[in-house]
Subunit: 189 residues, 2 copies
């Protein structure tokens, strides 16, 4: 009788989960395909059957975050005013980054991942669309600085180990309040 | 006649300058002592004469930033109220991060540098003192989140390539205004 084999989908998920755990411990650049295979107790060839490179695995781990950003943009891009587009996008980002808190913590600020995403047309276009709704038309320097500061602040706070003890729901409520107050006081069109 | 030799101080500075340029292009983990030697047109032994490891070079590159933080803390820790300690420290940080913009851009969010600094008692104590003046006594969760967000926002914005075209003086003025408004509106003791 043939040995039962995992479905393709199942094996993919296991590779991605092991990769994320290893990325968290060793960074993306410190993790090899061999380490992922060892953790799963399979051969490197078995991992190659699913993914042909570590870059492919990294992109697949980050893909659900970008799918959710795409979904958020499809909603916010139809809103009637620049203010509504900006504030709903920024609130949506808070929710989304907290929902993907573990992936965000591993990848935020990682130069290897940054270079990989910059070289990917699909992700870069998504970044441009996100910048468009957050900045609005013809942003002045003060608006560009404020939006850069707010975006980095949300990301950096959610991935801050000193904030790791704050539960997702509480963190989300505090960050939504701070984001709203910051946009009200600091960003004027 | 003996060949003129560079003074110890001069050679040190050249090593640190070359290292910073290479770190900017290749990241800290992608830079080797051999690459630093090649860039200077000297042997690896000549670099070893000044520094015994890449970690030592990395710490020396970041040291002026931490010296300035130490200096800032000596001033702010003597201020009479928690509010004054927090607001003067945060404004001082804005000024300091912009002054060291190039070093900040290379090192901010780099996991290699993060681990290196975490393992260094002197830097860790400085980080604890900085957290004390920024957070104040017995901070609640909302204050912890707000300070984490503001600190990450300042760092992330100054090192954001999208903001790279904004001159230091203008960036400093905008960030000081944003920081003051954020503390006024978002942080309550």
């Amino acid at each position: 009788m043939a040995k039962p084999v995992a479905t393709r989908g199942f094996a993919r998920e296991r590779v991605l989960e092991s990769a994320l755990e290893l990325f968290a411990d060793h960074g993306v650049s410190g993790t090899s395909l061999q380490m992922i295979a060892d953790r799963l107790g399979v051969t490197k060839a078995a991992v190659y059957y699913q993914f042909h490179s570590k870059d492919e695995i990294t992109l697949a781990v980050v893909k659900p975050v970008f799918d959710d950003i795409e979904h958020l943009l499809r909603i916010t891009e139809t809103l009637p005013t620049p203010e509504a587009r900006r504030s709903v996008s920024m609130s949506g980002l808070v929710e989304l980054i907290i929902r993907h808190r573990r992936v965000s913590s591993v990848f935020y600020g990682d130069p290897t991942v940054h270079h990989l995403l910059e070289g990917n047309d699909e992700f870069r276009r998504l970044g441009d669309r996100l910048a468009d709704v957050l900045l609005g038309p013809d942003p002045d320097t003060a608006t560009r600085v404020a939006i850069s500061m707010l975006s980095a602040g949300i990301h950096g706070c959610v991935t801050d180990p000193m904030i790791g003890d704050v539960a997702d729901a509480e963190l989300q409520q505090i960050l939504l309040d701070l984001t709203k107050a910051f946009l009200d006081v600091c960003v004027h069109d």
